[in-house]
Symmetry: C2
Subunit: 405 residues, 2 copies
Amino acid sequence: MDQAGLRRGNLALLVRTLREHGALSRAQLAVRSGLSKATVSSLVTDLEQRGLVHSAGVSAGGAGRPGQLVGLRPTSVCGLGLDLHLDHVGALVTDLSGAVLFRHRIQCDVPALGPDRVLDQLAALAKEALDAVAGAGGHAAGLTVSVPGLVDTDAGAVRFAPRLRWREVPVADALAARTGLDLARVAVDNDANLGAMAEHAALPVSDLVYVTGDFGIGGGVICGGRLVRGSIGFAGEIGHMSMDPLGPTCSCGRRGCWETQVGLQAMLHACADPEDQVHDPTLDRDQRMTMIRARAERGDQRTLHALHQIGSALGVGVSIVVNLLNPAVVVLGGYFAALPEWLVEPVRQEVAARVLAPGAGGARVVGSRLGFTAATTGGALASLRRVLEDPASVPILSAAEVAPS
Amino acid sequence: MDQAGLRRGNLALLVRTLREHGALSRAQLAVRSGLSKATVSSLVTDLEQRGLVHSAGVSAGGAGRPGQLVGLRPTSVCGLGLDLHLDHVGALVTDLSGAVLFRHRIQCDVPALGPDRVLDQLAALAKEALDAVAGAGGHAAGLTVSVPGLVDTDAGAVRFAPRLRWREVPVADALAARTGLDLARVAVDNDANLGAMAEHAALPVSDLVYVTGDFGIGGGVICGGRLVRGSIGFAGEIGHMSMDPLGPTCSCGRRGCWETQVGLQAMLHACADPEDQVHDPTLDRDQRMTMIRARAERGDQRTLHALHQIGSALGVGVSIVVNLLNPAVVVLGGYFAALPEWLVEPVRQEVAARVLAPGAGGARVVGSRLGFTAATTGGALASLRRVLEDPASVPILSAAEVAPS
């Protein structure tokens, strides 16, 4: 590693330390990082000039002399997660502390509109989000688009998203051109991968499987603390596990894929006849969930029976993944996370019954706390990671911009 | 890293370099390792004293002065792989070059004999193998036992092996006591994990799935170059994926597990009526395979139809794993590898049809070249790894033992 790489690594180390421990004096930062006090002082000055840290009061006694505390300015850098969906596009901005600064969603029929018009919508949403970041005096680390389908992350392109009916769409190029952002700061990833990263950031485990619950079903797999992408980045397509050779036709053209059994559409159809208002196409997912929840809470038998059946089918598929990967946690995301009281228990029962390892190999099944926002939260986090790994990628502020201490 | 750790690492580096490039002069070793010539000379002397290297002639010209070549003595260190099986115990010894020095198998009814008597047999086999190593003038790095079931590798114990009907058997303790080997040199691992390691050592890919083909079916998963063990070591139990809720009862007590469809017993029953001689319990796997091959080769319709059906059911399960993990290669082991002409193509067809990613995400399906010896080969390799990582674990020879140059 050369001199510049070493400094970059040390800047990242200080930011990480402040993120984990909160404000610290330069002396405390030196102790925790193992760097000399002179080096720490020089690095802190650098971080100050980029607006990433500021003075945060005086340390309260302790063993050493009281010292000026250095704290992160969370809003100094923000990450933007964008969401491409069957019936909407969405955006979510978080700062360095994980706080949500901006969140917006626009209903639209993505397959019908086609890539060009959808990317226009998405770019308009991105600009709104970037304006919100600028308004808060922050720097946008970048944006990451979540896609329910096969993504070439190197090229920033969608290879195949069956439910969107998109093939070979260069999303990153299109958004960079439309927003004026540098292409290096525009990323595209699979929705389940981003959801898994967001869940993993909040859970102290090294082996985790995240299952999206939406019209489509996807999987994000963390093994040994690392996201499993597979040989060319297409891992996690659990929605298309063959579960029933005689089952209904899937969006991918095959029969009996798992998502035809447990996807959002399957759940809604199991819960309600075609003329039921829950199928009204003008409703969004949250409104539908509110209706289904209300019916389940008042003990509607049709709904309870349907949810139990969906939970069991969900459990059969989850148990395959648990037998194969022995995760510590399976996180049920999306709509599953909106109905945990009725879905999690049937899944646990199937997993307990079907996994070879005693006690399901220790695998816990939980509902996501992020729900429908897991992918955009993961996207914002992925964008922030660029700055966390290289704080010097944030530009040095002019004297006028430096925040007063 | 301290001085001793550094020297250990450098010894390992030289052994690795000699293993990859063959014999080299000290000067060439210095260039390739980046170490000084003085350090290389001192390390080579150390390796000579342990019998790991010897003089191997004089380098033929080239740019520099001709120098004395240093070469590995492959037989100086051997690894022992032991095999616990439904109807036999086995042993295989390989040296540093991978050459097989010893191989033996004893037919026995493992579930009927029970752990104590089987471990006696296994220990007797291990002693025979260790004698063969000593007879070849080698040092035994250790032994690794392959088990078709759930293994606690830290404790060296079998937790649950349904087909052997073993629960909670401290295999490493038992074998250390019976052979006199140091417990630190006795390891236990899952058969599919060991098979995956053996296949991975021979294939230039980072993402690989190995499927055992025997009475039971197991999976060994390599992601990003690392074996996936899961949160408590129980990953890879793909034989117990639920494929058919109405299917036959499995050894694990559940119904319709994948191994009831594609295990060796299912294949034999699909190929031949119960009174057929292929079911004769005195036959071993190789003899049965020879019979099935002969029938397939002469175009017996019953056999061909049965193998196609097994291959298709194998492909359905493999496509689930490929959708989830996007491996570069799926290696079909065990009996599948004995009948590749009839099984591989139906698997490829199902994978091509059922995997969402175009072109099956690049996944190639191949028969193992190691066949029924993959697990013991992997066990021998795992035992050797200890010496490859720490050559100083090989004792220094007395002057009389040092091989003449």
